[in-house]
């Protein structure tokens, strides 16, 4: 699904208001907190995420001071699992976003540089991947190859690559046709210099905005697949798989899935708000 514009009205009219909108500040604070948790997971988690406490199984939040967010069916501490899940989900989302941006941008630049046949091949691939819902494609690959964390990250990295490819190709073609790129080319610059020093820095802001718009989608995909039991495999844990396993205890112990669900929603919401705000500030031309 394409990254759809958040209305400017929601995050403030970027240009007119110089001070930072409250919503954006909240989003930044939340993301900062998440990053901090992910980086310091080992230090701040009260227990290991696999540690069992068989005496306190399915204990609700606040019931004992030992487990502030409660425990699951095996007596594992929900808070500790949540902390490690945040780390896993963010790691996957960052890795996948960067892989997607790298693959997509390179293919887009290659298409724009060589034109002709190479471009047609890239465009056919873009068409192909835009014509299938990514979830289905991902499921098919997981069925064929089985699951491993590396494969999973690379697979999610393919999400939205065609968006970067399309954007990069368009921008490189328009940059190369007019103005500065043609000027630098006729100075005798090598293609590496033209792309590396001139074109890429000029189109970087658009690509960064696309990355922030794709990031929440990847978190949603990762958690969706993990929820279905096809993503992150136990004993590893991620936000989606916590929700998926917690679902069995929905009636008896809803706290197992409520806290990771809340983290997913708040994180995707924050990144969306931040991405739209960035887009309004850096690149109003992007839809």
């Amino acid at each position: 699904m394409s990254g759809i514009a958040l209305p400017a009205g929601l995050v403030g009219e970027g240009k007119r208001r110089r001070r930072w909108p409250v919503l954006v500040l909240c989003a930044m604070a939340w993301l900062g907190l998440m990053l901090g948790i992910a980086l310091l997971a080992d230090a701040i988690a009260p227990y290991a995420y696999t540690a069992l406490d068989l005496r306190n199984r399915l204990s609700p939040p606040g019931a004992t001071m030992l487990h502030p967010l409660g425990t699951d069916e095996l007596g594992r501490d929900v808070l500790s699992r949540l902390i490690f899940s945040i780390r896993m989900s963010l790691l996957i989302a960052f890795g996948a976003t960067i892989i997607g941006a790298l693959i997509g941008t390179s293919l887009g630049v290659v298409a724009a540089h060589f034109r002709g046949f190479v471009e047609q091949v890239v465009l056919a691939l873009v068409d192909f991947s835009a014509s299938l819902p990514f979830l289905i494609l991902a499921l098919a690959v997981l069925a064929f190859f089985g699951n491993s964390l590396t494969l999973f990250v690379c697979l999610l990295g393919l999400h939205a690559w065609e968006r970067y490819a399309r954007i990069a190709r368009g921008l490189v073609i328009s940059a190369g046709a007019q103005g500065y790129a043609a000027a630098v080319r006729q100075l005798g610059a090598s293609p590496w210099r033209i792309y590396g020093r001139h074109i890429l820095p000029n189109i970087a802001s658009t690509l960064i905005v696309s990355m922030t718009l794709a990031f929440p989608e990847i978190i949603l995909l990762e958690s969706g697949l993990s929820f279905l039991g096809l993503g992150v495999q136990p004993p590893e844990t991620s936000l989606g798989s916590m929700v998926g396993y917690g679902r069995e205890y929905l009636t008896r112990a809803p706290w197992i899935l409520l806290s990771p669900a809340a983290v997913i929603v708040l994180t995707t919401f924050s990144v969306s708000v931040l991405g739209d705000w960035l887009r309004d500030r850096l690149d109003p031309t992007l839809q």
Binding site: G9, V243, Q287
Partner: protein, 307 residues
């Protein structure tokens, strides 16, 4: 127009061929089919016999042609779990899925488009902000979370509706609402930005400046032009009628195509997965084709260019 149609058909065919080739390549890359199907500890002579029987010793391009021929003639293999024809297995699940996705699509259209238009026409008003706040929430809450929250509220706490299964219309309410809300949010955001884009165009200013009543400007100029980008995303939604319910079907244990897909993936039932993959690709490509033809009807520029 014929030429345009031919060009689009060609592109659709290329995409289908790509999907089939993708399935073939992935199938071959993922390991020796003989090993997978016969099991790791099958006797070597049985494996050799199997390979000969299925033509796995032939050169790859002949295997590919044979594979292609089988798919064209409608033979998509048998489920590795119960040995039934993969197509029949998938086909019997389609009605159950459509029973969810078609009503959900109606909710998306009926809720999302009016909400988006209203928000755009009253830009920055309270309505706009409220609609967009809801729309963003709808987009950022994943469907499995929304579904489970609805279950928690309406099934566990209030006991009004069942939490899963497929026994009657009451069982369909929660899954339909779950899908409908999420899709309506996406559509509302999209419609709003398409509408705002159009409302900012000079021809709208011209029309209202020369005294055309605002209602007529909206109906006569803004809506038809905003419809063009919106049709694309609706086409995508129509294209995912068959397999757009993977997650929601799993949440509500609804025995549709999506549930089948998840189970097949977990069991590595490759024939079924491949069958669903092709079915989804065919639906999607058809929907895109229809969207392209609709473009021609909506955008006179495209019509003229092809004349």
């Amino acid at each position: 127009m014929l030429r345009f149609l031919g060009f689009r058909l060609l592109r659709a065919a290329v995409t289908i061929v790509l999907v089939v080739s993708f399935a073939f390549v992935v199938l071959r890359l993922s390991g020796d089919p003989a090993q997978i199907i016969m099991g790791a500890d099958a006797p070597p002579e049985a494996i050799v016999a199997f390979r000969r029987a299925w033509g796995l010793e032939e050169p790859l391009w002949r295997q590919y042609l044979r594979y292609f021929g089988a798919i064209v003639s409608g033979d998509l293999g048998r489920s590795m779990r119960d040995g039934r024809d993969a197509i029949a297995l998938v086909a019997e699940r389609i009605p159950a899925t459509l029973a969810l996705t078609i009503p959900a699509l109606l909710i998306k259209l009926g809720l999302g488009i009016p909400a988006g238009i209203t928000a755009a026409l009253h830009r920055n008003s309270l309505i706009d902000r409220a609609v967009m706040m809801l729309a963003v929430a709808g987009f950022t809450v994943p469907s499995f979370v929304l579904g489970l929250l609805l279950v928690l509220l309406f099934a566990v706490q209030l006991g009004w509706l069942p939490s899963g299964g497929q026994e009657g219309w009451r069982h369909a309410v929660l899954p339909i609402v779950t899908m409908g809300i999420g899709g309506a949010a996406v559509l509302a955001r999209f419609t709003r930005s398409a509408m705002l884009e159009v409302l900012g165009q000079p021809y709208i200013r011209t029309a209202s400046a020369k005294g055309v009543p605002w209602r007529a400007v909206v109906w006569g100029h803004a809506l038809p032009n905003a419809a063009i980008p919106t049709v694309t995303i609706i086409g995508f939604m129509v294209g995912s009628l068959i397999a757009g319910a993977v997650v929601v079907e799993s949440v509500f244990s609804w025995p549709g195509v999506g549930r089948l897909l998840v189970v097949a993936v977990a069991n590595r039932d490759l024939a079924v997965v491949q069958c669903i993959l092709l079915l989804v690709a065919a639906t999607m490509v058809t929907a895109n084709l229809v969207v392209d033809l609709l473009y021609g009807a909506l955008d006179p520029r495209l019509r003229q260019r092809t004349a």
